[in-house]
Amino acid sequence: MSTGDARPAAPAAKAPARGSYQPKRKAASLGWLVPAVAVGGLLPVAVMLWDAYTGALGANPIQRATLQTGLLTLTLLVASLACTPLRLLTGWKWPARIRKSLGLLAFGYAVLHFLIYLFDHGFSLGVMFDDVLKRPFVTVGFTALLLLVPLALTSGKNSVKKLGFQKWTRLHQLVYLAVAFGALHYYWGVKKDHVPPLIYVGVIAVLFAMRFIKRKPTKKTGAGKINPA
């Protein structure tokens, strides 16, 4: 890393003892982060509406919107899963602070994806249940959506307190099942070009594996834990 910031080390006077941090100071300086993630994460909705208005969604706008909201769900879920490994690898704190926002954005897009699907079929619950029961590709997608519901409902800090950290963590491990079903939904939904869904599968597998690799060092205490690299 460059040390090129020319500012003298004036804060040394109130510098913390080595190895301890000042989360409050840090927290204040990251106040922009969550709003930025929310705005950035919702930007695709604005662009999609603009595309719909200008005709850039193409000849079959419903199909495009369905595809894109599905991809957004999967991408944001993967991004939320990347937060913890990224924090552990780099020692950065900010990934932990946006994990919830990314997860909620993913859930929002999943709901939107589902609503567009319902709209596509004239909000016919008969067609929906027929699809959910008879077509595995819809079954897994619907299951993934259902799995995300309790996670979205318990995303607040109060829920962590209410459930207890361990229970809450166990519950939120469901996200792996949800993202796996989501990727399978994508894979089965594609007509022939299976490369894009397989890329998602690969990334998810790597992130899942990293959980286990990184678990060990975090249990130990020591100076090296924040910056394993």
Binding site: M1, S2, T3, G4, D5, R7, P8, A9, A10, P11, A12, A13, A15, P16, R18, Y21, Q22, R25, K26, S29, W32, L33, P35, A36, V37, G40, G41, L43, P44, V47, M48, D51, G55, A56, L57, G58, A59, N60, I62, Q63, Q68, L71, L72, T75, G91, D120, H121, G122, V127, D130, D131, R135, P136, F137, G189, K191, K192, D193, I226, N227
Partner: protein, 335 residues
Amino acid sequence: MSNTPDDNQINPSEINPEERRILVPGSPINPRREFLRSAALFTGTVAALGGGLEVLTRRPGVGSAEAQGTDFAQASRPLGPYDTKEAVTSYQQATTYNNFYELGTDKADPARNAASLKPRPWTVKIDGEVKKPQTVDIDTLQSWFPLEDRIYRMRCVEGWSMVMPWLGFPLAGLIRRIEPTSKAKYVQFTALLDPKMFPGQKSNVLDWPYVEGLRLDEALHPLAFMAVGLHGKVLPGQNGAPLRLVVPWKYGFKGIKSIVKITLTEKMPKTTWALAAPSEYGFYANVNPAVPHPRWSQATERRIGELGRRKTLPFNGYADEVAGLYKGMDLRKNF
């Protein structure tokens, strides 16, 4: 590259990067500076996340000019017996939303990549169980027949449909001209294999070249059509220039594009999609709302240009004309 600290109590090399990050930014606290910094970081994050999501998930369509003028001299004429009276899909939509994996797997790819396909010079080889095997130039082949126009429904296996005003000639005329032998039972069509013209063939998403086929009696049916034009214009690359098959009672993938070879055979041809996914796509591929695709229903379709869905008709609405071809056949097995 490195600054010398005023504070000589701590050697900068002793500060680990994490501490440095906390020590340096935004301090000493200057509200104005802090605000500008936060605003910059906010904007950067919005752009990075929003832009990243767009790059990963947005698949924009393509704009394409409306057809100008006509390439084929056309007298206005009454609707023929096989023409549908339904509203015709616009040239713009019919030429920017295509399945033509040789030019890319996204619906907008064929329009984007069509320039790489050069439809002239072009020859078509006619061989197999015919009395007159030959290789014929596309313009000569076209000159054998008076051009007709046909307004046909086109139903894609993916659940969308269009109404296409084709220009061309009935396949039956061509088959009769090349005189099948008594052994001929099927017609096999082969598309161009040329990764330079077809960049999609650099990927092995399908087994190239694309092959399709019909039973001889299907090929001789007056609805089966060879198209060389669309909307009064020469067929654009993305729609299968210079010569493509149109079989309106079958799913769109039967309509092989950019044909270079027509072979009469004794045995049923091994067709591309049936080889790629035998449980999903059959040789017959007749439009049938009662037989779902394994992954989706075929009961309804979206007509391009409409938001809602409409019911899919048996044989795509051509049952009166063609159902007789399949008398006694189990259409669930022969999907």
